[in-house]
């Protein structure tokens, strides 16, 4: 997921060329407070005509407690991007308020209530505490994300390269997402020039369960992809597991072994997930 500042035409018009899976046009933190109107108008115009190729396009609006949030929604909801990303989500009540406004706008424009989804950003201690209720209760929320920098600030701690201060929050948010069967996206890695640091942090994010990672510069996309793309060896192994599972289950055998290791349902499920990621079908 590539963040693009909403008031930067050069970056928006090139947003689709870098192979990001999704693009986030940002009206919030990347836009100066006195340029909110300009960014909103620019994003609206660019969104309508720009080809972002295969990328999903989301828009991050300002929080409704700011003077900008409502105007953002009035402009963006009618465009029906694939998702609206809502910052600093702290409670289910906030989400209800947000959804009410979105649906009112959708009604006014004769738009369905089930097309555009919501991404809730968890960036405060309160949000982390309430994350399961946010993640699980709303069918329109199909992803949650952690906002590392805001959370660090809210917790009054100093950011460290190992991210130890927000490690609990990361894992709690992941657990809430997994329990709700929705996606969970890791925060950005702010140092664009530190490729090794980005790789380490992405590898960690993958290990603990994030489905993806947000990036602030196109140069970071390839590294995230490299980490998340299954290796040829992993694909071969998964292929073999799924194929043998199907042959065995056709023969009525539930549990079997490959190279002396027992293969059961969870292992098969993981192999199938990996093959879906790699776009490989087993015949």
């Amino acid at each position: 997921m590539l963040y693009i500042p909403g008031n930067n035409p050069a970056m928006i018009q090139q947003g689709g060329i870098y192979g990001a899976d999704s693009i986030l046009l940002d009206l919030e933190d990347a836009v100066a407070l006195n340029q909110k109107d300009a960014a909103r108008t620019l994003v609206r115009n660019m969104f309508k005509v720009t080809d972002f190729y295969d990328a999903e396009v989301c828009v991050r609006v300002n929080h409704l407690s700011t003077p900008f949030g409502l105007a953002d929604l009035e402009e963006i909801v009618p465009l029906q991007p694939s998702a609206i990303r809502y910052p600093k989500t702290e409670s289910p009540e906030e989400v209800i308020e947000l959804l009410n406004i979105i649906e009112r706008i959708e009604d006014r424009h004769n738009l369905p209530h089930n097309k555009m989804t919501l991404h809730a950003m968890i960036e405060t201690a309160m949000g982390v505490q309430n994350v399961f209720n946010i993640a699980s209760k709303f069918s329109r929320i199909d992803a949650i994300t952690i906002g590392g920098q805001d959370l660090t600030a809210d917790m009054n701690i100093i950011p460290t390269p190992d991210g130890i201060g927000i490690d609990f929050a990361r894992k709690r948010i992941i657990m809430a997402a997994k329990a709700s069967h929705i996606d969970v996206i890791d925060t950005v890695f702010p140092d664009v020039n530190d490729e090794e640091g980005l790789r380490r942090e992405t590898e960690y994010a993958k290990r603990i369960g994030f489905t993806g990672k947000a990036v602030i510069n196109p140069r970071q996309i390839d590294i995230v992809h490299e980490v998340y793309t299954p290796t040829e060896e992993e694909i071969r192994k998964a292929y073999r597991i799924v194929r043998e599972f199907r042959m065995n289950s056709a023969a009525g055998i539930g549990v079997f072994a490959i190279d002396g290791k027992m293969i059961d349902a969870p292992i098969v499920a993981r192999a199938e997930y990996l093959l879906r990621l790699a776009n490989v079908t087993v015949d």
Binding site: Q13, Q14, I17, Y18, T50, D51, P218, R219
Partner: protein, 522 residues
């Protein structure tokens, strides 16, 4: 008459002579010899212990028999830091010399101060591989009566051999020289590396002045230029602005767009079928082009693949790859940064070569003929893969033919890298404004929005498709880009020809018409 690319070429051009239309990249070469006779180089005689040293550049010029209608030549190894071309022409102008033919291997922004000499007919003809900035603008708008001739680096050597360019005076700046005129660019405070383009000037000019700011004890080693061709030697305070001649190391671009294009280009090379042990490689020093080297370097290391040689304009990046053992040899006709000079001086596998060996088509084999993969830029490219590197979208002359067509014609795989549009101007055209490199020598175009393969090379396209690369038909990409930018209004030109673009074999591949600047009504 029309040339084989459908461009109208006059049969005769006042001030230049009879013109021969381009008939295909290898048509003239396939004969095995050059039809035009080679003119003899001058023979001179010096007495033992006669001194060549002059106190000033002016004194050396006075001793060189300056006259109206003379041809003066320069090399462009000092890039944008050169000051001697302007100084020389100013001296000649002040002496009242008129009707000069300027034959510099290229012209840069730093040469803008000679514009008044074009206006007052001190200079009336120009041969060069490149023209930029205010000069390029003025020439496009018709400041000269005779069209400028744009040649390639290889073509320039041929021009001198055949007498199309007959140099009366060559002024050769060098960062180190001795009293006899042995000279080099590989050391000294103004070091610029290879002096490859000037070798032919030294050999053929009737008078040759070596100018240096670093007169060393005899002999000056290495003998990049040797004393047997040098008439006069001048010691000056400075041959140019060192900060613009060569700076430290060349950095890889940070531009995400250039890096994206470069990565795609490296993927193309990897899967082209030419990325094999012993391959020979050339990249430019510009943004995306140089960045391709970064990705190729990573791929070579990953695959433990070792290449044969790197060629061309050499950057510190090439030197790093040589030192890492990724390539055996560098052939260096032009060096881009200070680190390169050092390597050229000290590494036996880093070899200085003259322009003739680099790219002249009419000899027993220039090194461009042995390139496997070259990565080149473009100002425009058309749906027939013809490339323009000389005129900008606004119609002005603002680029250089350089080694573009030389290397494209030699390489097994010519990859052109450029963004699909620049500042709202689409780069892929139905027809480029000026053809420098013919489409038959271009295999692939790589842009940020897709890769286009010249349909003349179906096997290559197949290889790239098999690798899962994003291949688009060039016509489709052209339409896609036009939709983003809108279609620019056409520029307006007069019938007057202000430039002739010579292909490396001496035929005319295109002409440049005088630009008419429109008044836009508001």
């Amino acid at each position: 008459m029309l040339n084989s690319l459908g461009r109208e070429i006059p049969e005769y051009m006042e001030g230049i002579g009879k013109l021969e239309p381009f008939q295909g990249a290898l048509t003239k070469l396939s004969k095995g010899w050059m039809d035009e006779p080679t003119i003899p180089a001058p023979n001179k005689a010096y007495l033992p212990h006669q001194s060549k040293l002059c106190k000033t550049l002016e004194e050396a010029i006075i001793r060189s028999n300056p006259h109206n209608g003379m041809t003066v030549s320069f090399h462009h190894h000092l890039r944008n830091g050169d000051i001697l071309l302007v100084q020389t022409l100013t001296i000649l102008h002040n002496m009242g010399i008129r009707d000069i033919t300027l034959a510099s291997s290229s012209l840069n922004e730093c040469h803008d101060p000679i514009l008044p000499y074009l206006k007052d007919q001190t200079v009336t003809k120009i041969f060069s591989s490149g023209i930029r900035s205010e000069l390029g603008r003025a020439i496009a708008l018709g400041v000269l009566d005779t069209p400028v001739v744009i040649h390639s680096h290889g073509g320039r050597v041929r021009c001198i051999h055949t007498g199309k360019i007959q140099i009366d005076l060559a002024v050769i700046p060098a960062s180190a020289a001795d009293c006899e005129g042995n000279a080099t660019g590989s050391h000294g405070k103004s070091a610029f590396g290879s002096i490859g383009y000037a070798v032919i000037d030294a050999r053929y000019a009737k008078q040759v002045i070596v100018v240096t700011d670093n007169l060393v004890d005899f002999p000056c080693i290495p003998l990049s230029i040797s004393q047997n061709f040098i008439d006069h030697v001048v010691l000056v305070d400075s041959i140019g602005d060192a900060s613009k001649i060569a700076t430290g190391t060349t950095r890889i671009t940070n531009s995400p767009m250039d890096l994206r294009i470069a990565k795609l280009a490296a993927d193309v090379i990897e899967h082209s079928g030419f990325f094999v042990p012993g391959f020979a490689f050339q990249v430019g020093a510009g943004g995306a082009s140089l960045a391709v080297a970064k990705f190729i370097r990573e791929k070579m290391k990953k695959k433990s693949l070792k290449g044969s040689f790197m060629l061309g304009g050499i950057t510190s990046y090439c030197v790093d790859m040589l030192n890492e053992g990724l390539f055996e040899t560098i052939f260096d006709v032009q060096s881009f940064d200070a680190v390169v000079s050092n390597s050229l001086l000290n590494n036996r596998h880093h070899i200085e070569i003259p322009a003739a060996l680099y790219a002249n088509p009419f000899n027993c084999g220039c090194i461009t003929n042995k390139i496997d993969v070259v990565v080149l830029g473009a100002l425009e490219i058309d749906v027939d893969f013809n490339v323009n590197v000389i005129t900008g979208s606004e119609g002005k002359i603002r680029g250089a033919s350089g080694g573009h067509s030389d290397t494209a014609s030699g390489a097994k795989l010519t990859v052109v890298v450029c963004p699909s549009f620049r500042g709202r101007i689409p780069i892929i055209k139905k027809r480029v404004h000026t053809i420098v490199t013919p489409g038959e020598t271009v295999h692939v175009l790589v842009t940020e929005r897709g890769i286009c393969v010249n349909p003349a090379f179906p096997e290559l396209e197949n290889n790239l498709r098999m690798a899962g690369l994003n291949i688009k038909e060039i016509h489709d990409l052209e339409i896609e880009v036009d939709k983003i930018t809108g279609i620019p209004a056409p520029l307006e030109y007069t019938d007057k020809i202000v430039g002739l673009v010579e292909y490396r074999d001496g035929t005319i591949i295109d002409v440049i018409h005088q630009l008419k600047e429109k008044e836009i009504k508001i």
